[in-house]
């Protein structure tokens, strides 16, 4: 059985690349995108199981990208996790409205990432490696 596919969408190269390396080391198949537009395209092409998406990005922000992904007519919709430097109830509500399944506040601890993925995909990937 194939490992879950992880898509990381973030305009900060450091955030994007470090997460990608981490998830690769954890044994997932990883793709990255640097803004919302690329993110939406990557969802269609790569067909990830989970998307970690920054909210504040140029071109198309996380909210708009999530809405577009949710509105997509074809196939399964991946789990959408918002990663943001902002915190607070409003941020959570807004993300939920846009169609995110979960909001995580940066910087997220690696253990929390592992737990989350283990929760979403029981019996798969990360949990066996940790």
């Amino acid at each position: 059985m194939a490992l879950p596919r992880v898509l990381i969408v973030d305009d900060s190269i450091a955030s994007r690349e470090s997460l990608a390396v981490f998830f690769e080391l954890e044994g997932y198949e990883v793709r990255t995108a640097q803004d919302g537009v690329e993110g939406v395209e990557a969802v269609a092409g790569f067909k990830p199981d989970v998307v970690f998406m920054d909210i504040h990005m140029p071109e198309l922000d996380g909210h708009a990208a999530a809405e577009q992904i949710r509105a997509s007519p074809d196939g399964d919709i991946p789990k959408l996790i918002a990663l943001t430097g902002f915190s607070g109830e409003e941020v959570g509500n807004r993300a939920e409205q846009s169609g995110f399944d979960l909001v995580m506040c940066k910087p997220v601890s690696p253990d929390k990432l592992r737990e989350t993925l283990a929760g979403l995909f029981p019996g798969n990937g990360g949990s066996s490696l940790s």
Partner: protein, 799 residues
């Protein structure tokens, strides 16, 4: 008839006469009786012989008015010191019945007897009888007059006693003839006691203001005409029986008039007065109240209005006229009132007025009044109240009004402040949220990076991965530190704590440093950087570190707001007096209305709502502050959202005017004098900057100020050895600053005027103000060098 009246009437008559009572007893005798029958020094008692009652009743019956003579014997007793001598006289009597006395008489009949001694001739009786008849009627007439007089006297007495005025009547000598109850009470005398006394003894009055004694009666008696109270008022000092009691004073209003006889001679005076103490006190209180009211109105600027209803002509006081800009000579009307009101306030005012008059409720409104001349507007608060006739119809509409323009202005100001505060508070909260965001962004890869390093070590993976991760983490740390540094710098600038360390710098070096710092951010996004920088050195008098910060911030900003793979263009141009550096990107651009705001801290937050991209405003805020401190300016241009932005920084350069471009430290002689502290003062940033650059190149320490006040302040703290100062400057001129400095220290520092004004008059005025030397712009560098060398190092002397 009383015995005295009898005597009064009969004493002049020659016949002896007696007045006999009804019982026959003798009541009185006239003088002739005493002369004929009495003895010298004694008194005579007479008695009728026989039955006196019978004699009298006989008279009464027989003689109605005039009777015939009847022979009668009289027994007379003449009482002397020796004893009583009886005497009998034979005589004829005739008599008359007198009317019973209405007052005393209780109806007792009286008989007047005329005695005619036998020896006398009976022929005289006829004439005598006639005479008695005349006498009788005269007595009746007199009697009537007497009664009338008594009645009128009584009237007068009662009237005087009952009136509220005090009345004193004196004779021509000023002695009191009568005093009524009210007057007696006020002067503190018993009426009986006062009568006959000179009025001056009873009547003690003073002029209320001057306290000079007043004597109206004396004046009246002297002048024969009426005298009234002086305008200052009259004070009556009441007689005080008990000396322990306090002196009582009454405010009175006297008037005195002469009593004239028929021939016009003054025979007395009448003094009429009343106690006006209460009225006087009330008047005084009223005056004080009025005074206070006037003061209150004046102090508060309150104007009053009094209007008859229905409204037509209005009655306004001076202040209200002033409030409504009513020129003198113009009578205010209700039409004028509405004309002066701001058109937007007319309807509401009319309604409030009508409502108040209809309901009787207080009228209280704020309206604007416009000056027809200047168009000036003032806010006025007006409060009033209607009054009503007994039948309930409104009669008056009166009230006050006052200018509330200042209150309105402060209210508006407070509202603005409140709005600003609330806006500032919102911005602060947004800023904190954004700050957290900006800090978390570099922290996220750091945290992940640490985990990668741990995993890589555990699994002994590719060492290149570890190296790459470590480099990435280093950049994040640098970014974090830079962010925090920027924050601290903004804070220091806002508290005025950041001081530029200026020196002569080459712009190329500054730009090279800025590019070096920003390159990682530019590379990270895969942008290309185009440099258009002249080859030859461009000198500036600036803080190299801060200027580097300015340009690296602008480059970072361009890198952040341009989507990956964009183009950034850095161009430096040397203008006539300033250097321009522009940084242009192909990024998201800025909407025209946001272009000024980008330099304000926090405002970039709004971008997130545009569905765009967020960042802290710190970088650009810092850029503007630092450029300002260098005497330059920064501007942004963008053709709009999505069209890219161009930031242009202008900094005063080295002007040709000062000849610095032809001067370099290599020209030598720099070390010919010790290092001095030099303060350069000029309101023209380019001039200040170029002169400072020159001084700095000569190897001296330099500070710059841009006007006189700042120069004085910097001089106190910096303690320069030499001050090179322009003369014409805003806020405080060079002359004033020199006077100020010389006042503090007459000899130091060396003051050199560097001015565009070369006239001899300016030179003299400068020397007079305290300058030691005067140079005309452009100053010769050699001259500057020579003069700086003249300045004595102050610190050395102090040491």
């Amino acid at each position: 008839m009383s015995p005295s009246a009898f005597r009064q009437l009969t004493d002049p008559l020659p016949e002896p006469m007696l007045l006999i009572g009804a019982d026959g007893s003798v009541k009185a005798a006239n003088r002739a009786f005493g002369t004929q029958f009495g003895a010298p020094g004694g008194r005579v008692f007479a008695d009728l012989v026989g039955d006196p009652g019978e004699i009298v009743s006989r008279f009464l019956n027989r003689c109605r008015g005039t009777g015939t003579l009847t022979p009668t014997v009289l027994h007379l007793f003449t009482k002397t010191a020796e004893g009583v001598a009886p005497q009998t006289v034979e005589c004829q009597v005739s008599g008359a019945r007198l009317r019973p006395d209405q007052e005393e008489g209780a109806g007792e009949a009286l008989v007047l007897l005329r005695l005619i001694v036998k020896a006398n001739a009976p022929s005289k009786f006829v004439a005598l009888n006639e005479r008695i008849g005349e006498l009788n009627s005269e007595i009746v007439a007199r009697r009537r007059l007497e009664v009338e007089l008594r009645e009128s006297e009584e009237w007068l007495r009662v009237t005087l006693a009952s009136i509220a005025e005090g009345v004193i009547v004196t004779d021509a000598d000023g002695r009191i003839k009568s005093i009524n109850r009210a007057a007696a009470e006020w002067v503190g005398w018993d009426p009986g006691e006062a009568v006959g006394k000179p009025v001056s003894e009873v009547w003690q009055t003073l002029n209320d203001r001057t306290h000079e004694p007043l004597d109206p009666v004396g004046e009246v008696l002297r002048s024969g005409s009426k005298v009234s109270s002086p305008p200052e008022g009259t004070l009556l000092i009441r007689r005080c029986a008990d000396p322990a009691e306090p002196v009582q004073q009454l405010q009175i209003e006297p008037s005195a008039a002469p009593i004239k006889a028929e021939d016009g001679a003054t025979v007395g005076a009448v003094l009429v007065f009343r106690d006006v103490s209460d009225r006087h006190k009330n008047e005084l209180r009223l005056r004080q109240l009025n005074e206070r009211l006037r003061f209150t109105l004046k102090a508060t600027g309150v104007g009053r209005w009094f209007n008859e209803l229905p409204l037509g002509d209005l009655n306004w006081d001076a202040r209200t006229r002033e409030i409504f800009w009513v020129p003198p000579g113009v009578a205010p009307t209700v039409e004028l009132f509405f004309e002066r009101l701001h058109p937007d306030d007319r309807e509401a005012t009319r309604e409030a007025m009508e409502h108040s008059i209809a309901s009787g409720e207080t009228y209280d409104i704020e309206h604007r009044v416009i000056d027809p001349e200047s168009g000036a507007v003032r806010w006025v608060r007006s409060q009033g109240m209607p009054s009503f006739h007994d039948d309930g119809t409104p009669s008056r509409f009166d009230g006050i009004n006052y200018d509330i323009t200042p209150q309105k202005a402060s209210e508006a100001e407070l509202r603005t402040i409140a709005a600003e505060l609330s806006e500032a508070n919102r911005m602060k909260n947004d800023f904190l949220a954004l700050l957290a965001h900006e800090l978390r962004n570099p922290l996220a890869p750091l945290r992940t990076g640490l985990e990668i390093l741990r995993l890589a070590e555990q699994r002994e993976t590719d060492p290149a991965l570890r190296e790459r991760t470590r480099t990435m983490m280093e950049r994040q740390v640098v970014q974090l530190v830079a962010l925090i540094d920027d924050l601290m710098d903004v804070s220091r600038i806002s508290r005025g704590k950041l001081v530029l360390k200026r020196k002569q710098v080459n712009l190329q070096d500054v730009l090279r440093g800025a590019i070096e710092e920003s390159m990682p951010a530019i590379d990270e996004k895969g942008h290309s950087l185009v440099r258009n920088i002249p080859e030859e050195p461009i000198f500036l008098f600036a803080d190299p570190h801060r200027l580097t910060q300015v340009f690296s911030n602008l480059l970072n900003n361009a890198a952040s707001y341009t989507p990956a793979g964009g183009r950034i263009e850095l161009t430096a141009t040397l203008g006539e007096s300033e250097i321009e550096v522009s940084i242009k990107d192909s990024g998201m651009g800025i909407a025209a209305e946001k272009q000024e705001e980008v330099f304000e801290m926090f405002t970039q937050i709004d971008r997130k709502t545009q569905g765009g991209y967020a960042g802290l405003g710190i970088g650009l805020t810092l850029v503007r502050s630092l450029v300002d401190m260098h005497g330059g300016s920064v501007a942004v241009a963008s053709e709009g959202a999505g069209k890219g932005s161009e930031f242009t920084v202008s900094i005063p350069g080295v002007s040709e005017e000062s000849d610095v471009s032809h001067f370099s430290p290599e020209d030598g002689e720099v070390a010919e004098c010790e290092k001095r502290r030099v303060l350069v003062v000029d309101d023209n940033p380019a001039a200040a900057s170029s002169l400072a650059t020159m001084v700095s190149m000569l190897g001296h320490d330099v500070r710059v100020a841009h006007e006189g006040k700042e120069a004085v302040r910097v001089a106190r703290e910096y303690k320069p050895d030499v001050i090179l100062m322009d003369l014409g400057m805003p806020v405080m001129s060079g002359y004033e600053a020199a006077r100020f400095l010389r006042n503090e220290n007459p000899t130091e520092p060396l003051l050199v005027a560097v001015s565009g004004w070369g006239a001899q008059a300016n030179r003299e005025r400068a020397i007079e103000a305290g300058f030691d030397h005067h140079l005309v712009k452009p100053a010769n560098p050699a001259e500057i060098r020579r003069l700086i060398a003249l300045g004595q190092p102050r610190t050395a002397q102090e040491g």
